[in-house]
Symmetry: C2
Subunit: 338 residues, 2 copies
DNA sequence: CTGTTAGCGCATTCAA
DNA sequence: TTGAATGCGCTAACAG
């Protein structure tokens, strides 16, 4: 049923090679034969078998993108951008949802070498730095998220510590002094929480504010419901905070929701800041102040870096790309714009 | 650099076939040789070249999933589920974000025959039924979303008309009489808006209520900002509605946000209902009443249907799967649960 | 139980 | 400018 190069060649009365030349827009083909071949292709409805081509060319035109949670708006937006950018380069994207599970993340690394994709963009969460470092490295790989020490792949990310500083500084500038931090994950390797906590601590110290451990709330994951739980925990304290820095937007939205239920006024009683700038935060009640990494740039650079390796264009040591971030002040800390 | 079957065979002192047998867990291999081969594989770090295997077996173990907007939470959640379910069947998923653009959707259909994926799950938006009907059909394809007449592929979806009825009936049961509909798309092929509008009209008529065309608000797309605009339009009317049925949740969340800004009380002044049951609606202020299609089932069935075709297990006429839906009553129409 | 032999469909030498 | 032959790495008959 499927029609191959050979079929086209037979019909057009030329050799396989000629058809191949036409298909690949090889210049040295006479106008006449080209026309004849094209007619045959059209007539037969020929489509190249990409699997065969991939085997031969050792390129698949596919990139793997492995992220922890596709249903987190941040990643959904990132995936969309990566898919778009990759498409612009003629690449398609194979998406992997790891749930931050070490086992699945390990598979991502191990699947390398099967030559199914030309490159990998990987946002790890559950794997230890040690395991990450064990990456064989036969296929170009770009890391997203926090930078892992001793790791030797290209990396694209925002400066998590600086983002935390921006958020906390903003709260301090508002005159808040009891600032909570939500999203600590002591048991996770994912250094995101460490970095943000570090930024939080650093900023408080620099401002001469106390660091009250009771204001540092751990959460099992970064979903809205964990924000709800964190808000409960914070309001149960003898002296609750007057501001809450959440390590991502879903947590902040959960906090916002719970504060509303408890009748706490935001930002009057408690100001709230998140990180990621997902769309929901621009329409929530109140709208959410957040620190926005430039997602589009992350996607663009990540794809750019892998493809430079894939093409062999670049072959040096690991590269480090730090993207910009911006504080978006909205209602949850006092301003009113969207 | 890459090590092939042959290398392993040489090292183990056996034939290529034997190695292949070991790799594929073919039973008839003596324990001894198996061990020797495994050792060689381990030693060399052999990994099968999937491209070659795919060419040979005419299977790629990949499914394409084409949807309009990955950054719409409904689709993000759906993609996650599809990826999960596919993974359970040993399949990986290639994601395509079409933006509902007819050109890109056409490419999805045309890419069929390149044998890069074993099956396709497709949620079209911009293509006309005519074009959809022109699908060659060489690769198994399952359609998501509204059912397209004259179309001859398997289809999985919820009953859009019934979902609209559920939403509107609920509003009527609350005593509302001026019920608006947001999300009409007269210029789109996508029949989703038609179906929901049909359900809306039918339900109003059945209840003996007037259908006021000014209460039917068209939107260019289904994003939050379009909900904001729709709310503005509705409140500018001489006699505004006392309830708003939005064709999806993002629209409803935009409406909710704008009503809040305008000081309209929800649900007291205006009740709001959406469709899709995305997570945001469970944490918004107020929480959003919505009609929830069973996404998990949609994903499960969609993957199931394609794979049955892929395996050749099923080879009959198009199958139609209609998944359940449930009304989730929350604060935006008066109840308080999450 | 294991080795030999053919292709899968394509791109690519090398000749002509 | 085009054709014939080769092999990418693997699985599948078919022998042995």
């Amino acid at each position: 049923m499927p029609v191959s190069l050979k079929d086209v060649a037979t019909l057009a009365g030329v050799s396989i090679k000629t058809v191949s030349n036409v298909v690949n827009d090889y210049p040295y083909v006479s106008t006449l034969t080209r026309a004849r071949v094209k007619a045959a292709i059209e007539h037969l409805g020929y489509l190249p078998n990409l699997t065969a081509r991939n085997l031969r060319t050792r390129r698949t035109g596919m990139l793997a993108l492995a992220i922890p949670q596709l249903d987190n708006a941040y990643f959904a937006e990132l995936v969309r951008d990566v898919v778009d950018v990759a498409r612009g380069h003629g690449y398609t994207v194979l998406v992997d949802n790891t749930d931050g599970d070490p086992g699945r993340e390990r598979e991502v690394l191990e699947s390398v070498g099967t030559r199914l994709v030309d490159g990998i963009i990987f946002s790890p969460l559950g794997l230890s730095p040690r395991e990450l470092a064990g990456y064989p490295g036969s296929t170009p790989l770009v890391m997203l998220g926090e930078r892992v020490s001793r790791w030797s792949a290209d990396h694209v990310g925002a400066d998590s510590v600086a983002m935390a500083c921006a958020a906390v500084s903003h709260l301090i500038s508002l005159g808040r002094t009891r600032i909570a931090a939500v999203g600590h994950q002591p048991r996770r390797w994912a250094s995101t929480s460490r970095q943000r906590l570090a930024g939080y601590r650093k900023t408080l110290r620099a401002a001469g504010l106390d660091i009250d451990p009771r204001l540092i709330v751990p959460t099992p994951m970064y979903f809205r419901r964990h924000g709800v739980e964190a808000a409960d925990a914070l309001l149960a304290l003898d002296s609750p905070p007057d501001a809450i820095f959440c390590f991502n937007d879903p947590l902040a939205l959960g906090v916002l929701r719970r504060l509303h239920e408890l009748g706490v006024r935001v930002p009057d009683d408690i100001a709230v800041v998140g990180v990621d700038d997902i769309e929901d935060g621009r329409y929530s009640v109140p709208t959410l102040t957040t620190v926005a990494p430039d997602k589009r740039v992350i996607a663009t650079r990540a794809v750019g870096l892998v493809l430079e390796r894939v093409s062999g264009e670049v072959d040096g040591p690991p590269r480090e790309v730090v993207v910009e971030h911006h504080l978006r002040i909205r209602e949850s800390t006092g301003a009113g714009s969207r």
